[in-house]
């Protein structure tokens, strides 16, 4: 297990150094995107419409934050990760289209994303679910907000972050997926549990 501190934009070469179980901290530009923002970004890409910012080399955070506006300044109050599997239907295309390097969320992602990460050079960093204040403390400022018509949680919040983490590298760019490893062990434990409870499989 190694600890890495990367600054955005992150290159493919840097991302390929990471292996599952490594710990990563990200400094620079990160943006939030949940279901609706993924959907809209991909629609824009298909229509050839430019996005509000160039996403290449950035970190995307599966997060719907609580944000407070005082006069003209937005402040992040709480910003923990949301469940990433909801974005599984978009993420492979998202990685291929925009060359984001770090996907941050909770709960892990599936085969399609794992394969896209191996192909294009990206990793999944697991951030502790619900640890919203830990996350908020690493967010230095809100650079801008895009697509606020989607609502506060679904909008794209573009953030300036400093050593955002710890992120456990749970999917690396070599085809490894820590959540799948745990899942395999869980599957093995299932029979032991059934036996203990006196259940037939």
């Amino acid at each position: 297990m190694a600890v890495y501190k990367f600054k955005t934009p992150i290159s493919e070469e840097e991302i390929r150094k990471l292996n599952v179980n490594d710990v990563l901290y990200v400094t620079g530009t990160m943006f939030t995107a949940r279901d609706q923002a993924h959907k809209r970004a991909l629609e824009y890409f298909k229509q050839g419409k430019p996005l509000p910012i160039d996403l290449e080399g950035l970190a995307v955070f599966h997060c719907g934050p609580i944000v407070k506006k005082k006069e003209d300044t937005w402040t992040i109050v709480a910003a923990g990760p949301t469940t990433s599997t909801r974005m599984e239907i978009f993420e492979d295309e998202f990685i291929r289209s925009f060359k984001v390097r770090v996907i941050i969320g909770k709960g892990g992602m599936g085969r399609r994303t794992t394969e896209a990460m191996a192909k294009c050079g990206a990793v999944y960093g697991a951030f502790t679910g619900g640890a919203a204040i830990l996350a908020a403390r690493a967010i230095k400022s809100v650079k801008s907000v895009e697509w606020l018509d989607l609502g506060m949680p679904e909008a794209m919040w573009i953030l300036d972050v400093e050593e955002f983490g710890p992120l456990t590298v749970a999917i690396d760019s070599h085809g490894n997926n820590l959540f799948e490893d745990v899942q395999r062990k869980v599957e093995e434990n299932k029979q032991r549990i059934y036996q203990k409870l006196g259940l037939s499989p």
Partner: protein, 296 residues
């Protein structure tokens, strides 16, 4: 002060208390889990959770950005005055909390996908009523997170399989949920009544403190047996592996139809938020789950 204003103030305080301060029994269970966890990844997650709980209190901010769907449970004394005003007070309190705590706007129209922006909308916040003797009004808030809500399950089990069928149903629900509900979780298990009733019982069971077992020793034993079983899954904190997947199992039940065995499992995330208060007829308020000076 009239009940509309008192109830609004109390409900606002309850929402604020709930989203910033975890109840002591949940904190203790998390500290114990951290002390006993042997998986390095799992321990890192529990450490982050404990640090985050401290930061939330220190900075007076919601511990999790998902401040949930706001659900209330009201025990209304039959002799209390102006009970019809309570729901209005709860809606006002929810709107105020959205701006002033703040809590995240989490009420979306399922047809237009528009977020109301203030945590209210048709039937939301949801209020469960129970009429009890006396004049007091007890208000409990359960801000229910979406991640853990998405893995709640309800099933019509085979009556002939009895308790074994129930055990398998709960274990399978935990296995299927995996990392999604932000483990370590609390499980509310509801049995009987009917499909809707089982889930209502399950969700209400989430309000029981972790250090209180079911008063029926046989059910308490079953709670312990299921707890030990689900913690053998190895899912661990945040699904990254470890021995703490569930902090507690709270079972409750209703009688069932001879042909039906309804069962429901309600999941709560580690941020198992709840707060309650009692308003007396003379307007005095007693906070039941949190010390009132915790609200600044």
């Amino acid at each position: 002060m009239e009940i509309l204003n008192i109830a609004e103030k109390v409900a606002f305080n309850l929402i604020k208390q709930a989203v910033i301060y975890l109840p002591e029994d949940v904190k203790q269970a998390l500290r114990k889990a951290y002390a006993e966890e042997t998986s390095a990844a799992g321990k890192t997650q529990l450490k982050a959770i404990l640090d985050n709980i401290e930061f939330a209190e220190k900075y007076q901010a919601p511990m999790c950005q998902d401040t949930g769907t706001i659900i209330f449970y009201i025990k209304a004394g039959a002799k209390a005055k102006d009970l019809y005003k309570i729901e209005d007070a709860l809606i006002r309190a929810t709107r105020r909390a959205t701006v002033e705590v703040p809590i995240r706007p989490n009420a979306v129209n399922p047809f237009t996908q528009k977020n109301s922006g203030d945590n209210t909308g048709k039937l939301i916040p949801w209020t469960n009523w129970k009429v009890v003797p006396g004049e007091d009004i007890e208000i409990t808030v359960l801000p229910k997170g979406g991640g853990s809500e998405n893995v709640c399950v309800m099933g019509m089990l085979v009556p002939g399989e009895g308790i074994n069928g129930l055990k398998k149903f709960v274990v399978d629900a935990v296995l299927k949920a995996g990392a999604k509900p932000c483990p370590p979780n609390i499980l509310g298990v509801g049995i009987g009544g009917g499909s809707d009733i089982a889930m209502k019982i399950a969700k209400k069971a989430l309000l029981r403190p972790l250090n209180v077992s079911n008063p029926d020793p046989e059910i308490a034993k079953l709670e312990k047996e299921i707890l030990e079983a689900v913690n053998m899954t190895g899912i661990g904190p945040m699904g990254l592996g470890g021995k703490t997947t569930v902090l507690g199992v709270n079972i409750d039940y209703a009688y069932r139809h001879p042909a039906s065995y309804p069962a429901a499992v309600a999941f709560n995330c580690w941020a198992a938020r709840r707060a309650a208060a009692r308003i007396s007829a003379d307007g005095t308020v007693e906070y039941l789950t949190h010390k009132v000076d915790e609200v600044k």
